[in-house]
């Protein structure tokens, strides 16, 4: 068990002297503004030999380390009305970080959760790497700095109260936003907001609350924006009322990344009802109108001569051939027994329900952008360069996002909106039609994964995985992080993608000599990091082979995993789902259980699912959708070290289960003649109610490491793998191509010219 080392955070009793002391600031301001200068990453367990780079330093450590020098610029402000505000330099896209951030502040400051206002910070270039939302890193990298800022504020409030009440600080308690002295006199933090302010910026040393005193962190909380969401008051980018920002859409090419040659009827379209402007931009022909409905009409009416794109003539088959040619060798077969298989993972769309969209108001000397952006600094710099403006003349507001799944790491719509606004000389509210989002939007790249495991008797001697993928675009800022830290990485002189791959992937089993390599080919597609990036495919392939190896050795899949997993935490989640899911229970023919494990982001997870593959289930009629095998039950156990908000974590894991089901069974893009056939939700089969498990249980494990690990994407890999394993066991045939229904086209493709479908007119006939 060489990989069993554990980092050493504050001990289980939480009393390690000096470990919780941090430096923060009180800033010169009319009200109390506290700032954190630095956090710590106490678990970088360097120096312990291990064959796994991820045990030394994983992707989260790189991002956390990159963020450290600038974390001090985040501030907690206390206002006269007793509220506390914090501008989070991250994107909230549904993952619940505004809530978990409020939890951190409420805990450290002893102010009720409902009085914490967390907004999303505008792009702040001075934050350098510390404004990238990705890789499930938000809580990992902000856990200490946010608490330090709150603790500084707490200390200042107590000092100010001591003066007001004429009491010693040690005789005061701050609870629920009120400071009380020994004789019961009290003063609210609102009344202290100005008194606790500082005329000069000062450095302050604070101690963080020990874990055993937590009452807010670790307790379940509903989302802070839940009421706004259920009343329709939550504002997304397209809901903002920016003066004169009119609906704008883009007429796009019939093939991926095609370019405008010429437009035959721009003047005619400009004269259509409601249309105000038509302008050629880099990606197509933008039209601005009074309503989006009139934009759709105008897009459909445009007659454009298109130039070829970047994937001209390509299809699933041609890309598969390219991948095959790029596959690195597995080496000579070993002399010992081995199992070996190749798996294929088709293109998948990472569209959120909110399509790519942005508001832009570009003037001659300045620009203002509103969009949900996970890399707002890169967006700001790129938009400024495109517009020919200095970066400081471009203000980028980060709005609440309607989902991301990796899509909002990019700013495709914001860049288009800026260009369209500049060319039209008017503010625009630019939105991609769903068909655009499917066909020209980012996709998870097609990949193959080859796995070979050699063994002798009951011992596994070696594990090799060779992942070959269409290139994943990581140009949204992660690259800069890696550039900055590349010299510190224990992975040698390799490219960004391979670095990312090595840092995010590990083999959690005692499998002897383990190697995993990534090779990429073909940059002609609009790709991006989809939720959990490489892990769902890599893990699915691995877990299926673990099942095959277990069968070859005559072992039960759960027992085999239990015996070979490295860590106690790992075995604990596996055992938990096996117990809660009644692993091994008798099931009818055509149905089966599957079990799988995945660790990443300093977190561990296991999934157990039951699937029904009987013909009467698979072939049940669904209008404009896909039925297929039904996952009837899922049990998912997760250990993130410390769950800041277990309720939010449960929600994230539920969503991950739905993603895993979709990726294993139903959702993919079909490439033909240089374009994706899918153009809407009746073509792209993300999990729907009829695919979702009616019995779903998420188990949040008790605190283990005491430090929050990553969570937002964690659950996709084990879920997808468990569904695949269950399918293999139910049907008796291990699936090797994903999703399993990719070979059947379950819809009639929509035309590519015009590029968007007209809205129906028969809505009244479908009332219920």
């Amino acid at each position: 068990m060489t990989g069993a080392e554990r980092s050493a955070p504050a001990g289980p009793d939480g009393r390690v002297v000096g470990r919780r002391r941090f430096l923060g600031y009180v800033l010169a301001a009319p009200i109390l503004v506290a700032a954190a200068e630095l956090g710590t990453a106490p678990r970088a367990a360097a120096g312990i030999p291990s064959p796994e780079p991820t045990a030394l330093l994983d992707l989260n450590d790189v991002m956390t380390a990159a963020a450290l020098p600038t974390s001090g610029l985040i501030t907690v402000e206390v206002h006269a009305d007793g509220t506390v505000s914090f501008a989070l330099p991250r994107a909230e896209v549904g993952q619940g970080i505004t809530t978990s951030t409020a939890v951190l502040i409420a805990e450290e400051l002893d102010v009720p959760l409902e009085r914490i206002r967390v907004s999303l910070a505008d792009a702040r270039p001075e934050l350098l790497f510390n404004q990238l939302t990705g890789a499930s890193n938000t809580t990992v990298s902000t856990y200490h700095p946010i608490r330090v800022a709150a603790a500084v504020a707490r200390g200042r409030l107590l000092r100010a109260a001591a003066i007001e009440l004429g009491a010693a600080v040690t005789d005061l308690t701050l609870k629920a936003g009120v400071v009380t002295d020994l004789v019961g006199r009290s003063i609210g933090i609102g009344a202290l907001a100005e008194k606790a302010a500082s005329m000069t910026t000062q450095q302050v040393s604070v101690e963080l609350k020990p874990r055993e005193k937590f009452t807010v962190i670790g307790a379940p909380h509903g989302r802070v924006d839940a009421l706004a969401a259920v009343t329709g008051r939550k504002k997304f980018a397209m809901d903002l009322d920016v003066p004169d920002a009119r609906p704008t859409m883009v007429c796009r090419p019939p093939t991926i990344n095609g370019k405008v040659g010429s437009v035959a009827n721009a003047d005619e379209v400009r004269g259509m009802p409601g249309v105000t402007d038509v302008a050629v931009i880099a990606t197509g022909v933008a039209v601005r109108a009074q309503t989006f409905g009139q934009c759709i009409d105008a897009v459909r009416a445009l007659r454009v001569d298109w130039r070829p794109g970047t994937a001209e003539g390509q299809s699933d088959e041609s890309v598969l051939a390219q991948l095959k040619a790029a596959e690195p060798p597995l080496g000579l077969p070993p002399l010992t027994p081995y199992v070996e298989e190749k798996f294929t993972f088709h293109f998948r769309g990472n569209s959120a329900l909110e399509p790519n969209c942005a508001v832009a108001d570009v003037r001659s000397d300045r620009a203002e952008i509103w969009a949900s952006l996970k890399s707002p600094i890169v967006a700001k710099e790129t938009i400024a360069a495109t517009l020919g403006l200095p970066p400081q003349a471009v203000t980028v507001h980060v709005t609440e996002g309607g989902g991301s799944f990796g899509r909002k790491l990019f700013f495709d719509a914001a860049l288009e909106a800026a260009e369209a606004s500049q060319k039209m000389g008017k503010p625009v509210k630019l939105m991609w039609h769903r068909a655009d989002d499917c066909r020209q939007g980012r996709a998870h790249p097609m990949a193959t994964s080859r796995v070979r495991i050699d063994y002798l008797g009951g011992t596994v001697l070696g594990y090799k995985q060779r992942h070959t993928s269409v290139a994943t675009d990581l140009s949204h800022g992660l690259g800069e992080v890696f550039t900055a830290l590349a010299a510190k990485l224990p992975v040698g002189d390799i490219g960004f993608s391979e670095t990312f791959f090595q840092l995010s992937q590990s083999t959690p089993y005692e499998f002897g000599v383990s190697t995993r390599l990534l090779n990429e080919t073909n940059k002609g597609f609009n790709t991006g990091s989809m939720r959990n990036v490489y892990s769902p495919d890599v893990t699915c392939a691995r877990e299926l082979m673990v099942d095959r190896l277990a069968a070859t050795m005559g072992k039960d899949p759960r027992r085999f995993r239990h015996d070979f997993l490295h860590e106690d935490r790992s075995r604990a989640v596996l055992d938990k789902v096996a117990e809660a899911g009644d692993w091994g229970r008798a099931m009818p023919a055509g149905t089966a259980q599957g079990i799988a494990f995945h660790s990443e982001y300093h977190s561990v997870s296991a999934a157990l699912v039951e699937i029904d593959c009987r013909p009467e289930t698979v072939n049940r009629p669904i209008r404009d959708g896909v039925a297929g095998p039904r996952v009837t039950k899922a049990v998912f156990a997760v250990d993130v070290g410390l769950a800041v908000n277990p309720r939010g974590l449960e929600a994230q894991m539920m969503g991950c289960v739905m993603d895993g089901i979709a990726q294993a069974l139903t959702s993919s893009l079909h490439l033909r003649d240089g374009y994706f056939l899918e153009a809407s939700w009746d073509n792209y089969f993300y999990t729907r109610q009829w695919n979702s498990p009616p019995d779903l249980r998420i188990i949040v494990m008790p605190t283990t490491t005491g430090e929050p690990g990553g969570a937002g994407e964690l659950g996709v890999a084990a879920s997808m793998a468990a569904v695949a394993c269950a399918y293999g066991r139910a049907t008796g045939t291990m699936p090797t191509t994903f999703p399993i229904n990719h070979g059947t086209l379950s819809f009639t493709p929509k035309p590519t010219v015009p590029p968007v479908p007209q809205s129906p007119t028969d809505g009244l006939n479908h009332a219920y």
Partner: protein, 158 residues
């Protein structure tokens, strides 16, 4: 331009817009009512689900000319008022179950849920898993399980 009049969340409204503009854009782009969301524009994702005379409809597929002056359109913004409360029981159930994640689809999910529960109540039966399977609203965050739980809880109080 032609004038169209209908009732919206309890008030008579009149808009000056072309006949064939779909109700979704009349609500969002002309009237500034942004609860109903765009997700597809072809009546498949259901993010814009609202009520017309108490029945679930999708405004992206209804030309504004199809509305009569007496037609009552209820969006998520007007749902609570239909029961004379700050929140409709289904909205409260959504809060109790902490259903929403990003929240983009949730106005449509809630409006669909209320209509489904009403329809089943009219059929004098209890809601079943099979009924819940018929809901077509896409949730890309995958909140489906909590939606099911919230509908069962909300139905009890409707």
């Amino acid at each position: 331009m032609p004038e169209h009049t209908f009732r919206l969340n309890g008030e008579q409204v009149t808009v000056d817009v072309a006949d064939d503009v779909r109700l979704l854009w009349v609500l969002r782009d002309v009237l500034g009512v942004t609860g109903p969301k765009y997700g597809c524009g072809i009546n498949v994702c259901k993010a814009c689900t609202s009520h017309l005379n108490g029945r679930a409809v999708n405004p992206c597929a209804i030309p504004v000319k199809n509305l009569k002056p007496s037609d009552e359109v209820t969006t998520i913004e007007g749902l609570a008022a239909t029961v004379g409360a700050d929140l409709h029981p289904m909205q409260q159930a959504w809060l109790d179950e902490d259903v929403a994640q990003c929240g983009y689809c949730q106005p449509g999910q809630i409006m669909a849920a209320v209509a489904l529960v009403r329809k089943i109540a009219e059929e004098n039966r209890e809601i079943t898993d099979t009924d819940l399977d018929t809901i077509r609203n896409v949730c890309r965050c995958g909140t489906y399980f909590r939606i099911r739980e919230a509908i069962k809880a909300g139905a009890e109080k409707m």
